[in-house]
Assembly symmetry: C2
Homo-oligomer: 400 residues x 2
């Protein structure tokens, strides 16, 4: 088995350097197609070239670093754009880990490794836009009509870096598989004191926007028995789904009511309308289906019992994506060797580019801990030892 000895100082130095392409010195503000994002990509392209890779920007700005030999090879990477108040590791870590493993492998006479930084993972135009377009999940002409919060279209945004970009997309058959390294963005590894998570599934997401319409009334003169209080309907609904979900979920299942808007939302008026969103995530499509039956059935029952009118809208269903068994086995062996008794198999509760790339080729994912579970925040961080260990696991899995 060839060994690929990564150089921790080079990994950490590049990560720190990438951090400097941000609008605030203390964090990273690098939305897709911003000047900082394009500058970061150009610097990355230069580092790829220095590592012996051919940098190629595809038509939407995904940046590939391709080995000279055109025999199919592994691809690794993530994204280098960030949230408006995002931290320094979300995405960037997976890109730099891939770059380090690629150049370390080249130095050690190991297998060629291609590197990628996808564009607009954080969703200035939707979410995971670069990998969605490359994977064929989103046609380019549809993507071009997406708009950001300022009303700029995706077509206009990507025109800002058109001079850098190739006319054609990189052919997926150049690659034998894809491994994405990423921070967990949750508390599981950190709380367990573990260094590595090997992802078995990127969970599916369902959500429904729900409106309960009752009757707006004076909070002093309307007896309880005469009320059709939309907020009390929401309380009954939330309590009932908690009880029903408890019968069918696993510890990895999550559900959230994160958005609530009452009308007229005044302390002396019985709420006549409650709008809220229920979102639930799980790795198993059947469980997502059963949870949806509970959500719909409970909403109907609560509204029937309380004479509320029910409206359901904006149904979202992102299917779960299982990781490739072969790649996952290689990651598990590498984790067991690098961090014995200090790793676990776990689902990814967040979406990642790997879910799109899995449409094209075998794909897998690797997590390192997020201190305190914090992400999308300037204070996002990971122990240096874990950043190094994650790259070592990637190198070992690729070297097999």
């Amino acid at each position: 088995m060839p060994s690929i000895p990564i150089k921790p100082d080079r990994l950490l130095g590049d990560l720190q350097h990438l951090r400097s392409f941000g609008a605030r010195e203390t964090g990273v503000v690098r939305p897709a197609y911003s000047k900082a994002d394009i500058a970061a990509r150009q610097w990355l392209a230069g580092r790829m070239a220095e590592a012996g890779l051919e940098p190629v920007f595809d038509p939407v700005g995904n940046l590939f670093g391709l080995p000279a030999a055109d025999t199919p090879c592994m691809l690794s990477g993530s994204h280098s754009d960030s949230q408006p108040e995002g931290g320094w590791l979300d995405g960037a870590y997976g890109v730099i880990a891939a770059l380090e493993v690629s150049r370390a492998s080249a130095e050690a006479g190991g297998p060629p490794v291609a590197v990628v930084s996808f564009q607009d993972e954080e969703g200035r135009f939707g979410a995971l836009t670069g990998s969605r377009v490359w994977s064929g999940a989103l046609p380019l002409d549809e993507a071009d009509r997406l708009t950001d919060l300022e009303g700029r279209t995706f077509a206009e945004a990507r025109a800002a870096m058109a001079g850098l970009c190739a006319a054609d997309f990189v052919r997926p058959d150049r690659f034998t598989g894809f491994i994405e390294t990423h921070i967990e963005q949750g508390p599981v590894l950190d709380e367990a004191g573990e260094s590595i998570g090997v992802v078995d599934v990127i969970v599916g997401i369902r959500s429904l926007q729900i409106r309960f319409t009752g009757h707006q009334n004076h909070a002093g003169t309307t007896p309880m028995a005469a009320r059709r209080d939309a907020f009390q309907g929401l309380v009954a609904f939330a309590d009932a789904i908690n009880r029903a979900f408890a019968e069918i979920v696993t510890p990895a299942t999550v559900w959230t009511i994160g958005h609530v808007a009452l009308q007229p939302n005044a302390s002396s008026i019985v709420p006549g309308q409650a709008d809220f969103t229920v979102q639930w995530r799980d790795g198993d499509k059947d469980r997502l289906d059963r949870m949806e039956e509970i959500v719909r059935g409970t909403a109907e029952r609560v509204c029937a019992e309380r004479t509320l009118h029910l409206d359901l809208s904006n149904h979202v269903a992102v299917p779960p994506t299982g990781m490739d068994d072969g790649l996952r086995a290689r990651l598990e062996s590498a984790a067991a060797e690098t961090a014995p008794d200090n790793w676990r198999v776990m689902p990814s509760g967040a979406l990642h580019d790997a879910a799109n790339v899995a449409r094209l080729m075998p794909a897998a994912m690797l997590f390192v801990p997020s201190i305190g579970g914090i992400s999308h925040n300037f204070s996002e961080d990971t122990d240096t030892d874990d950043l190094i260990r994650g790259a070592e696991v990637l190198a070992l899995a690729i070297a097999v």
Copy 2:
């Protein structure tokens, strides 16, 4: 027993005329101290003079119509300002019913009856401002510092009608008691098909603003067991107080969570903060106390169980005001004679000027039905027969 035969056409004609002092022909928009409000008061003052009453505006714009004789007499009335989208009867009915009974009594050789239209009952500057100042519950210099939504002070607002106003307040010892006639603004009489409600108590109001602070998290990567979800805390709280209140309330007790604000209020983020208001009303101070113990105790228990931080603020406590036994007995007799088997004794769930006037003299209240329980709305209405019946009950109670 002297009879006071009211004239229905005059009562309804004046009510319709008062309606015309509004910004929209279909309803009434007459906030305190607006041009429409002042014009309505000037017209009312003229009608009082025509009825043989001396119109007197006090320093805050409360309009009294005083009989010539200075022997103490009954006072009746309500308010003539309205909500921004208020209807034609809220307040206005009680003022015109008092005016009609006063002039009918004078015509019939009955007892003198003074009439009042209080200022700013609807709360452009607080609530029930005119009667609060007159009753001494709110010192005038404090009232003068109150501001409306446009930042105008009460002092500035009342200066707009200073030329009309007397330098001194009307002496309360001119009056032997106060009866306020008002629409119910709730559904109880209308649903029961009853014509008259005699108020036994104007309920007390308590409210608390509550903040649950948990931890804002990613809705995909944060396991349920690791969450400190402020909204789920609110659901548990609302459900628990419903159960605990059910053990101690009467059918007239009401409680409301009408205002809810989550932070950051996004469908993919576990809510880190929930601000909400709990308000409860009852005619019995002891029950209000026991409900407050439940609210505070439940909030503390829920926060302890869920590791949420609890903040309580803006405690409001308006005590219940029992109506005067003697006046109430006169209203009950009059109701039994005017609407046999078609009236009830009931609490007022809304605040009224009578609660303030009760500080100065015996006070009582009389309700007529609100069709569909609707008020504070252009569609507010009451059957003509009930409007007449209410004035007849008032006349009979005063004639005793």
